[in-house]
Symmetry: C2
Subunit: 146 residues, 2 copies
């Protein structure tokens, strides 16, 4: 069976999430893709860095903008294993990324729980890509913590 | 006339905002205060760093958490010259800061335009401290850009 592009890049985001898991961090991973090239990879590091802003998406956006040499991610797609929180959605909004693809829903902290324009109006959103794998990684993590 | 504590710390945030102005950055400054000590200072650096996430508040939170050695800013007050955007309000929410004090309203991008819980429910909010000075700095900046 052919793997879709979205699945291919979500697998890369999942590999990042696994790195977070292995560090005892909540397993969320993100990659930024520009012209079919992964230009940034990151995973949640809030515990390791003692930094509440060190979500996977925030670091991926900073790294991608640095790679591009400009603060806008127009033409880029951000892949993230979990629905972004409001902070990260706001950052994706400022970046003007052309696309956001996420895996699992975040029923407690997801940005879709907030009403208002967080993302840029032109950002195309795809959700539920490899949802089960993304969600299972989170569920396993929290189960292991009990 | 006695200067209030809020004014004292907002002046420090304004001094940071002036540094941003001098770098041709949108003039927003922030400081984090813990037990009457300024533990972090920052100003907007989105252009200088080519990073859409480099708002004053984000950097101040990262620096304060680093100073404290933990990701929570419980007991800290964040002073910022401009009403935070949704991204920054989300970050302040994750930090669980005990207080947020801001100067000027942001009528286009302020977090109060978004409906939903961005800040932590226990964060005490004070607005309008040195509002005129904070707003005038922004107005002068945009006037100078015309």
């Amino acid at each position: 069976m052919n793997e879709s592009k979205d699945e291919k890049y979500m697998k890369a985001a999942l590999a990042e999430a696994q790195k977070a898991y292995d560090r005892q961090e909540i397993p969320v991973g993100a990659v930024v893709v520009c012209k079919d090239l992964i230009i940034a990879k990151a995973h949640n590091l809030t515990e390791t860095l003692n930094d509440p802003t060190a979500h996977a998406e925030m670091q991926a956006i900073t790294a991608a903008a640095n790679w591009l040499g400009g603060k806008y991610l127009t033409g880029c797609i951000i892949y993230v294993t979990l629905e972004p929180c409001a902070m990260c959605a706001g950052a994706i909004g400022w970046s003007q990324a052309s696309g956001l693809v996420y895996g699992a829903r975040d029923e407690k902290k997801g940005y879709t729980l907030v009403k208002g324009q967080l993302l840029h109006p032109k950002t195309k959103i795809v959700k539920g890509v490899m949802e089960k794998e993304c969600r299972d990684l989170m569920l396993n993590f929290f189960k292991s913590k009990r």
